[in-house]
Symmetry: C2
Subunit: 366 residues, 2 copies
């Protein structure tokens, strides 16, 4: 067996130790005589797995007691509807509830499109320029609607590789963040947020699990006509077991949380992540051959898009990289070029190997 360095944007690489543990426990979890995926979600074995996962996540993120942690299905795309349906009040169809949205890339655009079906969406900042997103608004430059039910933003745009270097201050208006691609990459102050949601398939675990961290006072305001499964209250009341949760994904998330604890927590993650991103951007900027278009003040630690001087070399780059054990480097079809996603589970050696390969490729083809 030869493991590759996998730069996929999501589903993404997982820590090898986590996969090894899952492999070893596949047919018999801790002497239970069954796989975790065969366990009743209401049995004491799985309940212990679920509770430990939540406790570990609360510990590593320092989540305050007045926040619920929900383990749901449906991805961030479901949250794009659940957030307005849970916070705008009224009824589906009346569109009178107001919310402020930042528009800073492909994922915030999707969030806005879905929210418009449920309310009055005010785009408070739009960084699109010539069809591209390469920056975020300066801190403090945005005026919010004091009557908005919430402000939504996307701290990291996975496709464009654009990241907010600050958390917007929205005063008393709850701040909602799609943190799919940055959650667990560094410490954050959860108390600044009303809701944090994240698809698991980047920094948490396998696809099919969505973690939602929601301040308790924001639960129970759901608009009439919301499906029970889209109501945070349904899941908060039932400890995320209103119906059968994605048990195996929840278990794997727990293994990842435990791995993060063993590695030193989010402070340690941040240190390595910043170093990984820093050296990759430095290599790109020092080169005349590779180019990253993003404003240096808001470059993503997690997703590093870059282009080659000659796009005709893209296919050769990808083929040679794959030969070198560096895979899934193709950029999103909407942006082109390359993208190296370097989440927590990408070891620093993977980034070093990519940088060395890039230098060698430039020397041979540049």
């Amino acid at each position: 067996m030869s493991r590759v360095f996998n730069f996929s944007a999501g589903p993404a690489a997982l820590p090898q130790e986590v996969l090894e543990q899952a492999r070893d426990e596949m047919l018999d979890w801790h002497g239970a005589g069954m796989s975790v995926m065969e366990m009743s979600h209401r049995g004491k074995e799985f309940m212990s797995i679920a509770e430990k996962a939540e406790a570990d996540l609360r510990e590593i993120m320092a989540i305050p007691d007045d926040y619920k942690v929900l383990f749901l299905q449906g991805g961030a795309s479901s949250q794009f509807a659940m957030v307005p349906m849970n916070l705008l009040g009224g009824a589906v169809g009346d569109l009178s509830g107001r919310a402020d949205y930042y528009r800073t890339g492909s994922w915030s655009k999707k969030a806005i499109a879905e929210a418009k079906r449920f309310g009055n969406v005010n785009v408070v900042a739009d960084t699109e320029s010539d069809g591209k997103f390469t920056t975020v608004p300066a801190e403090g430059s945005v005026n919010f609607d004091s009557d908005a039910a919430y402000v939504h933003y996307t701290p990291n745009e996975t496709i464009e590789g654009v990241e907010f270097p600050y958390v917007p201050d929205t005063g008393d208006v709850p701040l909602v963040a799609d943190m799919s691609s940055t959650i667990l990459s560094r410490p954050i102050d959860v108390s600044k947020f009303g809701i944090i949601y994240a698809g698991a398939q980047k920094n948490i675990g396998p696809a099919g699990l969505t973690v939602v961290i929601v301040r308790e006072d924001l639960i129970g305001r759901t608009m009439d006509g919301t499906p029970a499964m889209f109501d945070y209250q349904t899941h908060a009341k039932a400890g995320s077991m209103y119906n059968t949760p994605p048990t195996y994904a929840w278990y794997l998330a727990g293994l990842v949380f435990d791995w993060i604890k063993r590695k030193g927590g989010l402070g340690a993650m941040a240190e390595v992540n910043q170093r990984k991103a820093g050296k990759l951007y430095a290599a790109i900027d020092a080169s005349g051959f590779y180019h990253n278009p993003v404003d240096p003040g808001c470059r993503s630690w997690m997703n590093v898009p870059f282009t080659l001087a000659d796009p005709a070399l893209d296919a050769t780059f990808l083929a040679e990289a794959k030969e070198a054990g560096l895979v899934t480097l193709k950029g999103h079809r909407s942006v082109g070029g390359m993208r190296a996603s370097i989440y927590n589970a990408m070891p620093e050696e993977g980034v070093d190997a990519l940088i060395a390969f890039m230098a060698d490729f430039e020397q041979r083809h540049g």
Copy 2:
């Protein structure tokens, strides 16, 4: 390692060969150098896994070409809303669309409660008697509303162990079935149904995947105010990849489909399942100590509830069964007693072991 016989109603036992294959491929799928759960859902490796799973399911169920097969999230509980939202037309809140529902147990009750939030639900048959559900309406005894958008029923009630021995003939009105606990247990004629949906965690694979088989003409009638993620058309157009699907669960479902093919398909499954259920019911009926309350004409092949003559012995029964390697036999809290769920993955030896244990227990305690 010692594997138990696990009678869980869901998440439920999986074929040991499937788990062994998943274990062996955990860190490196077919030389890709990564786990299936690390693969981009749009990469050629995962696409090949996804396509083979769908092709195998179509083959073993003989699904006609004018049906879409969707691999979704959210469980049957999400389908309870998606079915009315997709079929009743109009807009969320107007409640004018009409649908007929059978009320035959706990799960059909939940489906009805959710559908009432979106339309005018007509309960065409209700088998509740003294708070219990132990039978289904006689074939041909129900009158349907010819203007209903659809008729919904639950072919097998997992909690009560009640099963329809026939498929209702609803004429031109589309028939919708929650087949979570019977799908793949025997051959069915898919062309009799408008929509079949099933949570995976019983006969398909791990929790977190929902399979929906929908006739194409029923797609695109969605009511205004339906979240994009709850619109069948969203997923049908995108090959179930509108957003990141639950890739690992999809892969495991594919391994199960392949296992069913190797075992001889649904005809072979039906033969074994009927034999397993038949001998367990025979043992219960021959005993004066165990009792199954369900009308013999509609006893479930999949979920066999039974009570002990003296409920004070329940805890001893469960403890001794566990010692004998027979686990998760406790009945649902709403029914009490015991329940043995014996899906495809429960080997006949497991049922034989249960019957032998029950006889021995009766001899010692009866």
